[in-house]
Amino acid sequence: MMKKEREVLLSLNNVKTYFPVKKGVMKKTVGYVKAVDDISIDVYKGETLGLVGESGCGKTTLGKSILQLVPATDGEMNYSFDGEVKDLRTLDRKSLDAARKRMQIVFQDPHSSLNPAFTIYQSLSDPLKKFGVDKKEDRRKIIGDLLESVNMRAEYMDRYPHEFSGGQRQRIGIARALSVNPELIVCDEAVSALDVSIQAQVLNLLKKLKEERDLTYIFITHDLSVVEYISDRIAVMYLGRIVELAEADELYKNKLHPYTQALLSAIFVAEPDRKTKRIILEGDVPSPMNPPSGCSFHPRCSYCMDVCKVERPALKKYEIDGTDHYVACHMVEQKKEGKYNGEI
């Protein structure tokens, strides 16, 4: 595949989001939950970046940190405002508002992300009012068009959320995110709460909207089949860090990190005569408050070496078949250098 020069829309450098753990009467900080621990990644314009990982790996926190809904503790988030690069974390209130016009989020649970006391029109007109559509008729017109673009009837805007099914509500959530014409949409488990037959409807809608409106998605999910279907690149997260990042087809072809291998082998596939050879991981994901030393995956890894227990592997770039493939693993590193002599 030819490597294209792509425009970077958002560049994360060493982003960390820690939550303090407080104890006792004095609420003394006794430790930190390192939800996002030193993540650096570029998001290119027009791509769909999939973020996958198990619960508690920090994927949602990362998404919310990007939107400044959860303040990051450290690091830089350089966003390209039509070529002018600014760090989202240093913006003042007013410029942050302008930034929010470019970035929106679709939440996981369509039942709790819409206010039950507001009609759809009321819910959707707030962002429009905020961003300067003052006339009511204009707002109604825009909302009507938005609803139609997510395959719903414009008349539905005067109904309340309880009148809609889960799939419809999720589409309203998408319409709300689209209302300010954003460039970047963070989809946080946007299809996880839906039934399979509805899930496909929403996935196809997201794909269609992306092409029509030239959107960039950060697609957060735990479902690896879904992420493969929708993403251009996939980042696999484990305990607050990215362990592997590659083009989607490349990742499924050459999974290098032992965690990615186990994760992919754990999926049950609805294809006859396919019995996946499973790598069953021992134990659970460790607590992010007290992650293991060295490589945080080492207690569950079957290739664990001495160095894994003490030294944290860096996310290193390898070029495979002309595409960039990033992995954070000592074993892979040694293998690429021809030092590793074990089996894989």
């Binding site: 039934d195 037959s197 496909a200 735990h222 251009d232 994760l263 609805a270 006859p272 019995k275 659970d284």
Partner: protein, 337 residues
């Protein structure tokens, strides 16, 4: 001859089961004529979307239905070692039902946090079951509980047995639940979405454990799930439910390879398959499931179906595609093509 062998194989038979719910002066026919057999030592999966009645089927067998609902019609027959038991005729909280529940037929629930009692230790809850069914002394039961936890792969069982559910992680809790369910060596294990609340790597652990137990103890499993992938890789037989009916059933391989019902076919086409990448075509099923209080007449799937004709205004009968493969559709011959 072969038919006869199969008859002897059945451990639990559900025939024309109807379970209705009554709320607000309305009746929801949650299960409307469901029949299936669970074979000894085999896994039967019931697959369907939320609200199709798969969990109600499980609660009907266990007689754990909520108030305002009851089994209207049909038979649930359990073939125990000392004769047939008609479960539907037993009083819900009668002696016989209580002796079956948890010993011969055990159940694992979806969410282990709500299914376990938070104020008692895991050990206490397993011991309770053992003492009620197996006539064990307190000491024996405790010893057995530790053994069970060890068998389920819980590290450090002597200490863990005295801990409370909140001290366990999600996967561990589910293991503890399975330990409890397996404590009296049940003949039938009903697993109602046992891994829906768990992560994929933990899901793989739990299914591996369940399959091992099935082999070791020859337990029949009724697995309730919405995940076609799990059905494909775990079960021997499967039944697809839609709005209170089984629309298609048969051996898993047959059904997945040659789906004869439009719904089964559409379901299989609407899920992305791992390894196929971005270029697969997902065909969503249009519309959404109908309101259970305001159902379409005839075939429940007809409004969302591509094969719909006038004939579909009438409920199609059960037809056999092959010896074991049943389908409820007027147009199954076309669908198979």
């Amino acid at each position: 001859m072969e038919k006869e062998i199969r008859e002897n194989d059945v451990i639990l038979r559900v025939k024309d089961l109807k379970t209705f719910f009554y709320t607000n002066n309305r009746c929801n026919r949650a299960i409307n004529g469901v029949s299936f057999d669970i074979r000894k030592g085999k896994t039967l999966s019931i697959v369907g979307e939320s609200g199709c009645g798969k969990s109600v089927t499980a609660s009907s067998i266990m007689q754990l239905l909520p108030e305002l609902s009851r089994i209207e019609e049909g038979e649930i027959t359990y073939f125990s070692s000392d004769g047939e038991v008609s479960i539907e005729k037993l009083p819900k909280n009668g002696k016989k039902m209580r002796s079956l529940r948890g010993s011969d037929i055990a159940m694992i629930f979806q969410d282990p946090m709500t299914a376990l009692n938070p104020v008692y230790t895991i050990g206490f809850q397993i011991v309770e079951n053992l003492r009620a069914h197996m006539n064990m002394s307190r000491k024996e039961a405790k010893k057995r509980a530790v053994e069970l936890l060890a068998q389920m792969g819980i590290p450090n069982p002597e200490q863990r047995v005295n801990e409370y559910p909140h001290q366990f992680s999600g996967g561990m809790r589910q293991r503890a639940m399975i330990a409890m369910a397996m404590s009296c060596n049940p003949k039938v294990l009903i697993a109602d979405e046992p891994t829906t609340a768990l992560d994929v790597t933990i899901q793989a652990q739990i299914f591996e454990l369940m399959m091992k137990l099935k082999e070791d103890f020859d337990t029949a499993i009724l697995l309730i799930t919405h995940d076609m992938g799990v059905v494909n890789e775990v079960s021997d037989d499967m039944a697809v439910m839609y709005m209170g009916n089984i629309v298609e059933s048969g051996e898993t391989r047959d059904v997945i390879r040659h789906p004869a019902h439009p719904y089964t076919k559409a379901l299989l086409q609407s899920i992305p398959i791992l390894g196929k990448g971005r270029n697969q075509d997902l065909e969503p099923i249009r519309g959404s499931t109908p309101d259970p209080y305001n159902r379409p007449v005839g075939c429940q799937f007809r409004d969302r179906c591509d094969y719909m004709t006038e004939k579909c205004g009438e409920m199609p009968p059960e037809e056999m595609v092959s010896e074991d493969h049943m389908v409820r559709c007027w147009h199954w011959k076309e669908v198979l093509k």
